[in-house]
């Protein structure tokens, strides 16, 4: 048993250490917990490999993604064409890598759009509170209840299949949950003493929001952003499957899956490999997101 004086010393020292590196400590804890989660680490590694392959890989490839070789036609995987070729004789491996570029960029860019709208909306709603908050959240509830994929389809049909529009349309329907999460974070932060102190010091609202609120809500934001990327990629592939995504000769995994499904009876590899690429990325992103959630969850702080 330690004496009272020692105990209070210890607690005091710990307190001092905590206040000194309070910001890094949460992150370091989360990092440690994440590193212990083998599936999450494996998923992260897989994602790095996939991203590098998609963005850097094509530089080292000998086949072009659009050169057709009708003479060759569709051949199964061999040493020359690792994943075979499609019905127009194009190398499938190259096309899967290029398709990955599009799918991953759409995933990241649309998530960025959703993130920006969601964080701003949620912060404003939570920070101002009162009637503004009630109205803003009611709007979110209503939009949430809508078949918003239907609206993305309509946007893509009626305003042309432009690449930029794809980001915006998908981003515009994916921000709702983000707004809710950020709002609840901001609401709980608003009553904390350091925010009060910031207000007493006369900091402007904007400065409080950007310097104090958002950085402190970053954990849940990162978690949810990681989980948004796969749902965005899924939505892009879904649109491409219906013929509303990117247009040829460009391709995304959704387009490749669509082409593969059309000719799967004779050439099943055209469906299987792009499908595998998409499923693997979604799988890793979901696992990583789950791992991050466990890592940032304060209830998991005990172990």
């Amino acid at each position: 048993m330690s004496s009272g004086a020692e105990l209070s010393d210890l607690v005091g020292a710990e307190d001092a250490a905590n206040t000194e590196e309070r910001g890094t400590s949460l992150w370091r804890d989360a990092w440690h917990r994440l590193a212990k989660n083998r599936m999450a680490v494996l998923s992260a590694a897989l994602l790095v490999v996939l991203t590098l392959a998609a963005f850097v890989g094509p530089l080292f490839l000998t086949h072009s993604y659009e050169t057709q070789n009708l003479h060759l036609g569709a051949v199964p995987p061999d040493a020359q064409h690792w994943l075979g070729t499609d019905t127009l004789g194009r190398d499938l491996f190259t096309r899967v890598l290029y398709g990955g570029r599009v799918s991953l960029s759409v995933g990241l860019c649309a998530t960025a759009v959703a993130l920006t709208i969601g964080v701003l909306y949620g912060t404003i709603s939570g920070f101002i509170g009162g009637k503004v908050d009630v109205v803003m959240m009611r709007v979110v509830d209503i939009i949430f209840a809508l078949p918003f994929t239907v609206f993305v389809i309509l946007l893509m049909v009626f305003f042309g299949r432009k690449f930029l529009l794809l980001f915006v349309a998908i981003g515009a329907v994916q921000w709702l949950t983000m707004a809710r999460i950020v709002r609840s974070q901001v609401m709980s932060l608003r009553r904390m003493e350091f925010i009060e102190a910031a207000q007493a010091l006369g900091l402007s609202r904007l400065r409080i929001i950007f310097r104090h609120m958002i950085p402190n809500a970053l954990g849940p934001i990162i978690v949810y952003a990681t989980l948004t990327v796969p749902s965005v990629m899924l939505l892009e592939a879904f649109l491409s499957f219906l013929g509303l995504g990117v247009q040829p000769p460009m391709s995304s995994w959704g387009v490749l899956i669509k082409e593969g499904a059309d000719s799967m009876e004779e050439f099943p590899w055209l469906l299987i490999f792009p499908g595998l690429a998409l499923a693997l990325s979604l799988f890793s992103l979901n696992f990583l997101g789950d791992g991050l959630r466990d890592a940032f969850d304060p209830r998991a702080a005990k172990d």
């Binding site: 809508l146 994929t149 389809i153």
Partner: protein, 305 residues
């Protein structure tokens, strides 16, 4: 409770109005029109067609006309199937989509609930890891990959089912599995989470101490509380089933509302698109209301507000 339901039904009116307005103007302000593709039509025919559908009036007047008809529940004539009304087309195709959704949901609940309960009973053992990993796979394999794969294996290679169509019960199996798999995975994860939370509570420990078996604990004590997250998920799930039906009905050539909607969007069949969007929105809002009622009934701690 009646007040709650009436209030929610009243809220539906502005929601549907906003959707009707948004969709109406979005479609109209977009370039292109429904009669663009019929190049053979002479200008006179085109003009008379436009007059018949009221397209020669100013946009504002058309909008008001549409709303007036909407009040009578009339969604107008279809522009691509000239002799048919949108009401008829929906009445004809929706039951097919609803049946598909019903079987999918049944599959999702059967597999999802049992997998989730098994996983939650012995967390962090292999009876947890196997269903949990399967659920993750289910979430990560998109409908439009699973559907063609199932067709490839069970219809083309093994010959157990037909590739497409909607005639007898064998035609229901593959589409329902395709659409249901994703929801089975979600339901399994939610059930596991909900059950884990309930199973860690004191009243379960008391029941265990009294010697209740796993079966009794799950069915008599834990299920009611553990299923709450699953029930609240059913609202968004219906919205997802609607979207999923677009893909599944396209893959399997099922003449349901989803396929009609996608075709209508491509063909710029304005009234059909508007009608379908409004119908979907009303369906989703109603189903969310139903889910909220069930939630209160299942959880006495929650009140109607």
């Amino acid at each position: 409770m009646l007040r709650f339901i009436a209030g929610r039904l009243l809220q539906m009116i502005p929601v549907l109005l906003v959707i009707a307005t948004l969709t109406f103007f979005m479609i109209r302000l977009a370039p292109g029109g429904p009669f663009d593709t019929e190049r053979t039509a002479s200008p006179e025919i085109r003009k008379s067609a436009e007059a018949y559908y009221g397209l020669n009036k100013p946009l504002g007047a058309q909008y008001l006309d549409y709303l007036r008809n909407l009040l009578h529940g009339d969604l107008g004539p279809s522009w691509k199937y000239p002799s048919r009304t949108v009401n008829e087309l929906i009445a004809e195709s929706f039951p097919i989509s609803a049946e598909l959704a019903f079987w999918s949901l049944l599959i999702a609940l059967t597999f999802g609930l049992s997998a989730g309960i098994v996983a939650a009973l012995r967390p962090n053992t292999w009876t947890d890891y196997v269903p949990s990993s399967l659920a993750m796979v289910g979430i990560s394999v998109p409908t439009f990959v699973l559907g063609p794969l199932l067709v490839l294996v069970f219809a083309l290679k093994l010959g157990y089912a037909r590739v497409s169509g909607w005639n007898d019960w064998t035609d229901r199996v593959l589409p329902a599995l395709t659409l249901g798999a994703l929801y089975a995975a979600y339901v399994a994860r939610l059930t596991r989470g909900g059950m884990l939370e309930v199973l860690s509570q004191d009243f379960i420990r008391t029941a265990r101490a009294k010697g209740a078996s796993d079966f009794v604990i799950v069915t008599k004590h834990a299920l009611r509380g553990g299923l709450l997250p699953v029930v609240s998920y059913l609202g968004p799930a219906v919205a997802g089933l609607v979207t999923g039906s677009f893909v599944v009905e396209t893959i399997f050539q099922i003449p349901g509302l989803g396929r009609y909607f996608v075709n209508a969007a491509f063909n710029r069949d304005y009234t059909m698109v508007l009608g379908a969007v409004l119908f979907y929105a009303a369906l989703i809002v109603l189903f969310n209301l139903l889910v909220d009622i069930v939630l209160v009934w299942m959880n006495p701690r929650q009140k109607f507000e």
